[in-house]
Symmetry: C3
Amino acid sequence: MPYARISLHKGRSAEWLSALSRSLQQSLEETFEVPPHDCFQVIHQCAPGELVYDPQYFGGPRSEGFVLIHITAGRVRTTQRKQAFYARLVARLVDSPGVRPEDVMVIISTTAEEDWSFSMGRAQMLERR
Amino acid sequence: MPYARISLHKGRSAEWLSALSRSLQQSLEETFEVPPHDCFQVIHQCAPGELVYDPQYFGGPRSEGFVLIHITAGRVRTTQRKQAFYARLVARLVDSPGVRPEDVMVIISTTAEEDWSFSMGRAQMLERR
Amino acid sequence: MPYARISLHKGRSAEWLSALSRSLQQSLEETFEVPPHDCFQVIHQCAPGELVYDPQYFGGPRSEGFVLIHITAGRVRTTQRKQAFYARLVARLVDSPGVRPEDVMVIISTTAEEDWSFSMGRAQMLERR
């Protein structure tokens, strides 16, 4: 909670993908109230033609290095927190692994705490109350 | 906003996929209040066994040409608009690239405008206000 | 309604994946008010590095056999029903195809009935009323 689904073009090294993963997780921890170790990500490496995006809509110019990150969060965050997360994420991704700011797109979907079972068939978030 | 995640079986040509992409985008622009150039799609080409669907539930008979389209929208649309979109999408997909009406399934999830950062670490939808 | 997006590492047999699919569907029918034949799933078989997860956060220890199941439901279920589903799912997956309880993670997102078109460009859930 959250988990992220990351879509980008094939061709990056394992090290590059690992750096992307770390920068995303660091940004979530620093700005989105995500605790350490709460890290779940799925990366979809797209073949040519599988990733379709307008080069200029509300940003860009987007390149072949476009990265689409869809976050599914377990509870609501404030608008300010979301904005801080967007900004921090881009700053970190520019730094490592080196993504152009124009190429970062983020979408956040929100669920409730009871919608998560992390393991063992239990709803861990409800047990904390 | 929106973005679409499209799942279908492997084996289609690049031209076919491109036609699918265009028909989806045209339908969104014509019936779902999506502006031109607001086009973001991820296509998942499934190997045998990766795409599981009942052949007859509430429709069909579904074939190997089944296409599942999951739309994540940035704001609520009316029921009437959703229905118009479903109908237009199928009409366009039948025309190009040639999908059977029985094989088109659509699901819409909804987020808020602040949940989108198109580029540069900013929440562009909030800046328009 | 619902549909499930399943992410796991590559390397399982077709029989194993099919057993996973069946156990998930049985659990949904038994505990989540899903009717027979209402079965739609997409399986994403990840290459090394594409599936990122903490080994211990709120559960585990998670192994290479980690399975992430993201359910998109068509209407709200009670907390009790969600908890019954989590427990049943793990019990069934342990039995077949043989997943460790520690390796099962579930996330539920919820939409409305009007957000589903199963086929033919129609909103079948609205037509039942």
